[in-house]
Amino acid sequence: MLALREICYKLEEYKTCVATALPEIEDLDPASKSLLQRYINSTESTDPSSTIRIQAILDYMYEKINIGNWKEVKLFIRKAITIATYLKLLAHVRFSDEDTDTIIKQAYKIIDFGILFGCPLDKEPRLLQNCASILNTVNVQKNLVLKDTSTKEKNKASSDTSQADKFNAIQIESIDCPSMEHFYKYYILAEKPVILDNCINHWPALEKWKDQNYFINLAGPRTVSIEIGSKYTDTDWTQRLITIEEFVKQYIYQTEGPTGYLAQYQLFDQIPELKSDITEPEYCCFSDSNEPVDVMAWYGPKGTVSPLHHDPKKNLLTQVVGEKQLFLFAPSDSEFLYPHEHELLNNTAQVDPRQPDLDKYPKYRSSKPYYCRLKPGQMLYIPPKWWHFVESLSISFSVSFWWE
């Protein structure tokens, strides 16, 4: 139990710093705010009644963040979640009477709820990530997948060009690690898609991530939010919180039942240990803003589908494990692709470029599809507003870099 006590001390070291962040929740309702202030400023340990009250604040703020658009949720409400999460974590580690293994696993769940729904405090932006790193010093029992988990690379006989021909599409050109100037001039400025070869050969991820047990070992008890259902436009599509260990076992290696996809997920922010396996491509420095690059993980089994849609930012989609096939269309092709009319889905089109229903969508004939099969080690540049349809052809892990 010595280890746990040390962890307690290390976690509590952040208390004074979190106290200095209290002005950041100045606008919070006075009832919750005064409770959080009192608990953070108290030198005494929390008692059972404070545990119930902290949980009540978390549950209440969770209701609040579900009102209206996620992007418009007041930051002080999400900061209150971060602070309440930290308090709940302290009480949990100190008072739980479970065995160490269970305590640590539950502690990760508490932290991950805070990371998913809270937001960084200005005074200590990495508070919850740092708390997780402290917990990482304890080795918890992980149940690895027994089978051989390294993904095998198959050399398909059919060439990319013949695949592109099959879909009446133009094969997206690929170039070998271009110079910055060349990429900027001929692709970014020209708003033209291209595959970049041999740009990420140095990434440790290319080798490490082939073994799915690697993720279980590194972050098995961490909770992530996954999408269930083959594509987000389906009626039975839903989202679920799940640990990485469960996700790998239940979804990466399953062949029946609904598809689970860790999609568009800020995994590297939550689990910084994974970030050291990749590096941000230098090409992302051609930016019109000072905003940091959005780095997202896309991890799933064979058969995940992102329906035809477009995003507002520049995108370098990097394939680390497995293969994906993509269809791209220029923004000027929009009218041939039949975008959904509902406000929530108007960046998504109805046509499935794999099997276009030409009776329903006759104008599709006039569109000009671009096609590629993206292989491990390749990066695809998708210009802003370009339509893209993505399907995984095997177990796949991609990383996207979005920037403006």
Partner: protein, 366 residues
């Protein structure tokens, strides 16, 4: 009158030491209310962190106040309200308390964080000003209800206003005089004398009952209820109940914690309903109950019903005991369960829910 209370007591808003009340108990909103006050006491509103209580003509807050729990204090009225004895309607949330002059001359917004009062006027759009002035002259506010984002006001003549700064909501197309308005977290419901139900606001969680997730700016009739005379409506956070003249209950909206009380036997997950569905009740043997429902109420994520035999049935989230059941044993329920019976059948019982509370009002019939 007696109050049977269950649910959250996180801010000690009830006269009880437990933070979670997980069975219906006869409770007073404060230890300061002695037994002979009770007949003069009225519970006006249950919020998350405090209740608004009226004793005779005086308004009190019980629960969280000024950063402390377990408080019982007079609502600080603006001095002009006290000196000229303004007749007030009151409503609040965790950030504000709104006091409305029933005669529609003014309203006051009390900011609970800054402890400031702001006086506001009943806003009238220029174009309809003359018309509205006439309307205002012989009208009075009968109900004000503040949700997390905005406020609704209902007048005796059936006019509806919305916004902290009230602006007129056009309900001319609604059939019958408006007799009730309800606020969800981000949607609104109104009921007319003819028994018609209209909804507007955000519909992304199916709470509007029109079969889709569209949002609406104009009160729009819930077509699935057309032809059924509705006597009472209640809006929860993202769900709703409607009680018909025949004692039937219809539910629609979000069902993530079972708050609609419509269980699908062949489904693992609770299915949400985008149009009103009839609610059925079953006894322990699984036999359908045919008694009539006489009152309904919704909390943030739970629902409660009273039948004509004074049995109380609840469904939905029970994390803070709001269903009147052990929260350990039943974290939530996705069907209505009989959890209480007012012991005396000759009592007149009605329901009121707070976000995380259920309260039964029992009056002895004279």
């Amino acid at each position: 009158m007696e109050l049977y209370v269950t649910g959250s007591n996180i801010f000690r808003q009830w006269h009880c030491d437990d933070l979670v009340i997980n069975e219906f108990r006869v409770l007073s909103p404060s230890k300061h209310i002695v037994a002979n006050d009770r007949s003069r006491t009225n519970l006006l509103e249950i919020n998350w962190s405090y209740n608004i209580v009226q004793i005779d003509d005086i308004l009190y807050i019980s629960g969280a106040w000024d950063g402390k729990e377990n408080q019982f204090t007079k609502v600080p009225l603006p001095s002009e309200c006290v000196t000229s004895k303004v007749d007030l309607c009151v409503t609040g949330n965790d950030y504000k308390i709104i006091l409305v002059d029933k005669k529609m001359a003014a309203l006051w917004a009390l900011d609970l964080n800054k402890n400031e009062v702001k006086k506001l006027n009943f806003f009238i759009e220029k174009a309809i000003e003359d018309n509205m002035k006439k309307k205002k002259l012989d009208d009075s506010v009968t109900k004000a209800v503040l949700s997390s984002g905005t406020c609704l006001y209902l007048t005796q003549r059936g006019h509806v206003y919305s916004g902290i700064l009230p602006s007129y909501v056009d309900t001319k197309h609604c059939v019958g005089k408006v007799i009730d308005v309800q606020c969800g977290h981000e949607h609104f419901v109104l009921l007319t004398e003819e028994g018609r139900v209209y909804t507007w606001g955000n519909g992304r969680r199916l709470q509007l009952g029109h079969g889709d997730i569209s949002s609406l700016e104009v009160p729009t009739e819930v077509e699935a209820l057309a032809g059924i005379k509705i006597l009472k409506i209640s809006a929860g956070g993202w769900h709703n109940l409607a009680l018909s003249e025949f004692g039937d209950v219809y539910a629609w909206g979000l069902n993530d914690t079972g708050q609609l009380g419509i269980k699908h036997l062949n489904r693992e997950h609770n299915e949400s309903f985008c149009v009103p569905n009839l609610v059925s009740l079953f006894d322990k043997q699984g036999i359908e109950i045919t008694r009539n429902v006489k009152d309904i109420a919704c909390g943030s994520k739970h629902s409660a019903l009273i039948l004509d035999d004074n049995t109380v049935w609840t469904s939905g989230c029970n994390k803070y005991g709001q269903l009147g059941l052990s929260e350990q044993k039943y974290p939530s329920l996705n069907y209505y369960k009989n959890v209480f019976q007012c012991d005396n059948e000759d009592r007149n019982c009605s329901l009121i829910c707070g976000p995380w509370n259920t309260v039964i009002f029992c009056k002895f019939e004279k």
